[in-house]
């Protein structure tokens, strides 16, 4: 478990985290591995956890009936996968597929939610970090929507 705590503490997502927080999280954490071309989660499933990606690449996909799945974004080393665990109704909105072998730390969402409710300092810190990621993803999505390289 010490190793897991160190991995969490060293992950960029937790950079500058107060030293006792990673220890609080470790109880909710476990190692995860996904083979290439396997689904980490699928749209509609309960969002019970999120992942700190340590290696490999994950595609966030959305399914459309008349065509192949659309790859919305890819996520890689140092990034966070999944934030539906944070907000009701705690359901996945996209598919996540490993397009390379992926190593990650899975953090149990229910466990985390309980800890965040009990310790609002931790909860606020987590929310700030997720808010930043959501803001970056929203900006990137808007930028992507602009389709700036298209011929007009």
């Amino acid at each position: 478990m010490e190793t897991l705590e160190r991995i969490i503490a060293e992950h960029p997502f937790f950079a500058g985290f107060e030293s006792h927080f990673p220890n609080l999280l470790t109880g909710c954490a476990s190692n995860a591995r996904f083979d290439e071309d396997t689904y980490i989660f699928k749209e509609g499933e309960e969002a019970n956890d999120f992942y700190l990606i340590r290696a490999g690449r994950v595609a966030v996909e959305i399914f459309a009936p008349q065509r192949k799945p659309i790859m919305v974004a890819t996520l890689g080393e140092g990034e966070i996968l999944g934030w539906s665990w944070l907000l009701p109704p705690y359901h996945r909105k996209f598919h996540a597929r490993a397009i390379e072998p992926v190593r990650a730390i899975a953090l149990d969402g229910k466990c985390l939610r309980t800890k965040c409710e009990q310790n609002h300092d931790l909860g606020y810190e987590m929310l700030k970090r997720f808010a930043l990621i959501l803001e970056q993803r929203l900006e990137a999505t808007r930028f992507q929507l602009l389709d700036v390289y298209a011929v007009r």
């Binding site: 397009i99 992507q144 390289y149």
Partner: protein, 280 residues
């Protein structure tokens, strides 16, 4: 009051097409050589020429070739209108009028001893390719070279073989992302700014050179600043309507700047107050 004879900057030199390479469905790379065998002027990475097609018109096009091989002028052109279509439709042996090189160029000398971050979007990789050649030819003069390249889709990627070759060079990192990936695409999907977190360089000792659509450059410059690059170490290449390239026609004015003779490359600290104004 006899005038000292000076060259006429509006008069093109005659070149002919030596090679045409299809890069993507709508983008071609043309290699030109002087028709009368005279060597072209040396150019600085980031400079552009005015290319004239007989009876069609003239266009500003950045030089995308190797500055060490200045006897040949290389341009990568995307066909988006009548004049660019005429250019990419040229065949080997066709004549083209060339004026230039014009403009200030990328700060390749100021970047000596520093990490170089090249951020390109779409056809914006073409004006940056001479920087990459320059750094790779003078590897000892620079720190790390990081190339971040964003394109619309995998089939819109320019210079694919070269990207692979550059990635194998020492102290060089090449990251490519597309906005729309197909299922067979194994690389990054997402806008070019999402690559920044994977760039291995030291922001305080880096110089960034950014080229792409203006919106893309705004997003990139903002994110580079967040990542710790100083505004004066971020350079952008601007585009405005241009008829003469020598400051006479007035079209390319951008606030106090003439894109043609003061630019097209400017540091972000000089552009920052202008970039966010509507219809400047």
């Amino acid at each position: 009051m006899a005038a000292a004879p000076k060259i006429d900057p509006m008069l093109p030199q005659q070149y002919s097409v030596r090679e045409v390479v299809k890069e993507t469905a709508d983008t071609f790379t043309l290699t030109l050589e002087s028709s009368n065998g005279t060597a072209a002027d040396r150019f600085h990475p980031g400079q552009f020429s005015m290319l004239w097609v007989f009876g069609v018109g003239e266009l500003p096009i950045s030089i995308s070739g190797d500055p060490a091989q200045h006897h040949r002028l290389v341009y990568t052109v995307r066909s988006v209108g009548q004049a660019t279509y005429a250019l990419v439709s040229c065949e080997v042996g066709d004549g083209i009028g060339v004026r230039g090189p014009f403009g200030t160029g990328w700060p390749v000398e100021q970047a000596h001893g520093r990490d170089v971050l090249v951020v390109a979007g779409g056809i914006g990789l073409a004006p940056l390719r001479p920087v990459i050649y320059e750094v790779l030819h003078n590897r000892e003069k620079y720190g790390r070279l990081v190339i971040l390249y964003g394109a619309r889709s995998p089939r819109d990627l320019l210079y694919r073989k070269e990207l692979t070759a550059w990635a194998r060079q020492p102290d060089t990192q090449v990251l490519v992302s597309v906005d729309y990936g197909g299922l067979s695409w194994r690389g990054h999907v997402g806008v070019v700014t999402t690559l920044l977190k994977f760039a291995r360089l030291q922001p305080p000792r880096s110089v960034a050179m950014v080229c792409g659509p203006e919106i893309m450059m705004r997003f990139v410059a903002r994110d580079l600043e967040t990542h710790g690059l100083a505004r004066e170490n971020i350079y952008l290449s601007m585009e405005r309507n241009m008829k003469c390239a020598v400051g006479f026609c007035g079209h390319c004015q951008y606030g106090p700047h003439f894109i043609c003779k003061d630019g097209p490359i400017f540091s972000y600290d000089r552009l920052r107050p202008l970039l966010e104004e509507y219809e400047l």
